[in-house]
Symmetry: C2
Subunit: 118 residues, 2 copies
Amino acid sequence: MGITKTIGFTKETNDMAEVLKALGHPARLAIMQLLMKSNSCICGDLVEELPLAQSTVSKHLSELKKAGLIKGTITGKNLCYCIDEVGFEKIKYFFQNVTKHLDKNKTTLFQMFFENIK
Amino acid sequence: MGITKTIGFTKETNDMAEVLKALGHPARLAIMQLLMKSNSCICGDLVEELPLAQSTVSKHLSELKKAGLIKGTITGKNLCYCIDEVGFEKIKYFFQNVTKHLDKNKTTLFQMFFENIK
DNA sequence: TTCCCATATCGCAATATTACGATAATAGTT
DNA sequence: AACTATTATCGTAATATTGCGATATGGGAA
């Protein structure tokens, strides 16, 4: 088949899966990391930083945009990309559940993890 | 092509992407949520909870195992699955970076997100 | 307008993913 | 040993994903 079943799962689960799937690719993750490193938006030099053709980078950017993880705005002559909060909103619920699970099970490794988060 | 390029990215990025990719499917996400909800390991009734054939569930379980997100142990006569910390260890770095980014940019939505985490 | 630059889209080929039924393998039970 | 229940694997068909080159598109600059 190749088609992902979505019926029988909650909307939250499906939405969340979509965001995580968007993050689940080295190039897209690298893009997110580059956007995080730079204070302001990155304007186009992403192609130079990544080991991929321009058309491929462009496609990955549009997928991140579709998932609500980044925003692209035109400022004068440059197109600028920066992180969008919408996508992260979606996975909030999942990580809340992770936390609950940890609280119940007191897994130290996990707690270390969240300590680092803050 | 269909093949994901990994050369040119750091090992951390590639590892992380693999874990996030494993989570980026409704069925696998639902499995993780079911495992989190139950205090102990879930023993086999996963197939009944999911709208998928037994063979499909089994494959998803093996992919989660491969990603280090779950562990399967044989206890007496039943095979029990529970959450493994290894996978989450891998995405720790990514979320640390998210935090740094937030600290710098003071995005309130994001901060709400991490408040909920604790 | 014409040229140039940056980005997006198209078309394609190769490969991966998803799902299912059928079958195997494994372990406990009778 | 034979039977049963549970989980894994195989074979498969359909579809999705990835990546690239080529081409289009849109906005400044000349």
